[in-house]
């Protein structure tokens, strides 16, 4: 059986030969001889699929957020405006609804607080654990597995688990607080502790991941660096602070990106913990707000606008990372 590609290539190549005037033309060869074209069967299908379903969907979502699509029917793409973004920032009664819509500041602020506190603390805890596990202790693998295990659980499981942990009467958190003479304190519905409690539970779940990333980073640092620091008389703290941690920059950035994205997805956790997408004003994040607008109220376009804001937030975290990677030639 003859490959039609082969036939086509031969024909194209024949054309080339006609205008060949020297020795250099043969190096360029056929357009079909290029690596990128020859490997197309491997990269093109996934490229098209990702292009359509990821980037196509993102673009569609952005366009949708400019419409007035609400309720049943289909969106009207002929009249696009930024009304939904104005409403998202200032509130008011949009043209597509008879009800007033609150701005998203509260949810956006909660999202940022959750994102920053979760990521930073998670990295710090992960780093400390990684350094401890790296001390060539016994049962190192066991510890590593234990710390990483929570990450394998779904948010639904951990949310129900922490709902129990935070129980005022029987929860472990309050039992420990009671043992040191504090409490018991209401946590789950306490406006001052709610978001912190959610962040704490997420840190518990994901610090193991940060540990693994850091551990890999630590192992990549040659032993000679540790030895040199020791010979120069650096204390342990000084050694890590001045010599080791600066070399963990790549590990930090890549863990940070993944953790931030996880924190944006805390929706599942809140949904299971508070039995729906109404976690209350002090724990309301953009994701819960978005689902509420879209699926409870049928305000599709407005929900899309919130999704775009969330997307921009994720992008501001990821884009600098990708850009520096690109600049360093690591992409």
């Amino acid at each position: 059986m003859r490959n039609p590609l082969t036939i086509l290539r031969q024909r194209l190549a024949a054309h080339r030969e006609v205008r060949a005037d020297g020795g250099t033309a043969t190096e360029a060869g056929s357009i079909l001889d290029r690596d990128s074209v020859r490997s197309a069967p491997f990269w093109l299908p996934p490229f098209l699929l990702i292009g359509l379903f990821i980037y196509g969907a993102i673009i569609w979502n952005i366009v949708l957020s400019l419409t007035d699509f609400q309720g049943l029917g289909s969106p009207d793409y002929s009249a696009l405006d930024i009304e939904n973004y104005v409403i998202a920032f200032t509130g008011g009664t949009p043209s597509w609804s008879s009800l007033t819509v609150d701005p998203v500041w509260n949810a956006a602020w909660n999202t940022v607080v959750l994102m920053v506190s979760f990521s930073v603390v998670c990295l710090a805890v992960g780093l400390v654990m990684a350094i401890l596990v790296d001390q060539e202790i016994r049962f190192e693998n066991t510890f590593r597995t234990i710390y990483l295990l929570p990450m394998s659980l779904s948010f639904v499981v951990t949310a129900k688990f922490w709902l129990y942990m935070y129980n005022v009467e029987t929860g472990l958190v309050n039992l420990i607080l009671g043992a040191v003479g504090v409490g018991p304190i209401e946590i789950v519905q306490n406006p001052e502790l709610k978001l912190a409690a959610v962040a704490f539970a997420l840190i518990w779940q994901f610090s193991g991941y940060a540990m693994i990333v850091y551990l890999a980073g630590l192992r990549a640092i040659p032993t000679s660096h540790f030895e040199a620091a020791r010979v120069d008389g650096a204390s342990t703290i000084r050694m890590y602070w001045r010599v080791i941690i600066p070399q963990l920059r790549t590990a930090t950035v890549s863990a940070l990106v993944v953790l931030t994205v996880f924190s944006l997805k805390a929706f599942d956790f809140l949904f299971s913990m508070y039995g729906g997408y109404q976690p209350g004003p002090s724990a309301d994040i953009l994701a819960t707000r978005m689902v509420r607008e879209a699926y409870a109220n049928g305000n599709w376009a407005y929900g899309s606008a919130i999704a775009v804001l969330l997307f921009i937030m994720a992008l501001t975290i990821v884009a600098p990372y990708i850009y520096t990677q690109y600049q360093r030639g690591e992409l």
Partner: protein, 431 residues
């Protein structure tokens, strides 16, 4: 074998494979019919496509009983029954919405009637005459009948009624405390009774969950009905509520919250209800699905171990939570759907369904002798009620957008129990 045979046998293989694939597909759609039975004779478009989220428990038993009864009466109607997995109502709505937007509506689907119908505005068709004939109009009381209408035309058939304004109690605990539930006559009496229970016994006076807002919305709407009366309640659901009345009902809930379990924010409704069953709590305010758990428990009998009174202050009202099946325009199986909806509107079908579901039939002429004693008592209350107002929490009284605003207001209320601020948010929920 000669070379000549190869293409033939390939073709044979292909034919056989595709035949098998088609048979497999047909088998899948046949398998979807659930309790269908005979499976054969798929007649394409005339299958009744019924979407519901009752995929487990008493709901599943109830819908199966209903379908079985229907098929005995109308053996010719085929079902393409596709319960929506995940059992969440919002998920079901999503499926229905996708189908409506693809212009491929199901025959009918499970939904709350009343203002919830707003969600698919314009997708329904009037079934007055065909389904809502004189017989139905005569036998549905005014309240449920009003909920079956959207913009003045009959579009859906309510199938069952769960009551919201109940106060369930553990008899032994109340006896120990010396509280007579029948003597309570207003929401504030409940607070007083709770105080007595707190001083006289070790039990938790009022079992309530506060991790989600729905139980508190129910409690507040019942309290509002008890304090402001039917007029005050209807004013609120029409968007003309009195801030003072709303706030005072909220304040009453704040007073009552003193007597909740201290870990109310970490427990679920099931756990709260179990407290009552185990004698660790005295009262619980819930829809009458709470009684479903009691009748499944051994040694916990209606009358002896537990009882129910109409929530103090709301006597004369039967606060409605209903499920219904609407008729969608552009129906894939007009005749069969109307037959099914008529069966849902019949006393016989409703009794079969409600015997399993634990709720009561909306038809006042239903023969409830096959239901349990508690359901019979509820049914008696229902027929004797002066009015049947729709529930706020369960989507009947307010449109989905308003309902979301109300839930948001209550999710804030659960954080700070600020009655004044919440009252303002509730009144503003309509704007």
């Amino acid at each position: 074998m000669s070379e000549h045979d190869t293409p033939v046998s390939r073709r044979t293989v292909l034919t056989t494979t595709s035949a098998a694939a088609i048979a497999g597909l047909a088998g899948c759609s046949g398998g979807g019919s659930g309790g269908g039975g005979d499976g054969g004779g798929n007649d394409g478009g005339s299958e009744l496509e019924l979407l519901h989220a009752w995929s487990s428990g008493d709901g599943n038993a109830a819908i199966e009983a209903l379908i079985e009864g229907f098929q005995e009466e109308y053996p010719d109607v085929e079902f393409a029954e596709e319960p929506v997995d995940g059992a969440a109502r919002s998920n079901l709505d999503q499926v229905v919405l996708n189908k409506l937007q693809a212009n491929d509506p199901p025959s009918t689907f499970q939904t709350w009637p009343g203002n919830t119908l707003d969600k698919f505005e314009g997708a329904y068709e009037d079934i007055e005459g065909d389904v809502w004939n004189e017989d139905l109009k005569e036998n549905y009381l005014a309240g449920p009948q009003e909920q079956a209408q959207y913009d003045g035309s009959y579009v859906t058939v309510p199938l069952n009624i769960h009551r919201i304004n109940n106060l369930f109690y553990n008899t032994a605990v109340l006896e120990e405390a010396g509280v007579d539930p029948e003597s309570l006559s207003s929401p504030s009496d409940v607070v007083d009774a709770c105080e007595t229970i707190a001083t006289e016994t070790d039990a938790i006076p009022f079992a309530q969950q506060t991790s989600g807002s729905w139980s508190t919305v129910q409690l507040w709407e019942t309290t509002l009905l008890g304090q402001a009366g039917i007029d005050g309640y209807e004013a609120f659901i029409n968007g003309e509520g009195d801030t003072g009345a709303v706030e005072s009902a909220l304040q009453s809930v704040v007073d009552l919250s003193e007597y909740y379990p201290s870990d109310s924010s970490s427990i679920s409704f099931t756990e709260a209800n179990t407290m009552v069953m185990e004698g660790n709590a005295a009262f619980i305010h819930q829809g009458d699905w709470a009684a479903g758990a009691y009748s499944n428990a051994d040694e916990f009998n209606y009358g002896d171990d537990w009882g129910q009174v109409t929530y103090p202050g709301t006597s004369g009202s039967y606060l409605l939570n209903m499920d219904s099946f609407p008729y969608l325009a552009n129906n894939p199986s007009p005749e069969a759907t109307k037959q099914f909806l008529s069966y849902c509107g019949s006393a016989e079908g409703q009794v079969l369904f409600n015997a399993e579901k634990g709720s009561i039939p909306p038809r006042s002429d239903a023969d409830v002798s096959s239901l349990n004693t508690f359901q019979q008592d509820q049914f008696e209350d229902f027929n004797a009620a002066d009015n049947q107002p729709p529930s706020v929490q369960h989507g009947l009284a307010v449109s989905p957008g308003v309902s979301t605003n109300i839930s948001s207001a209550f999710s804030g209320f659960l954080e700070d129990y600020d009655a004044a601020a919440t009252a303002e948010a509730l009144i503003n929920a309509f704007n």
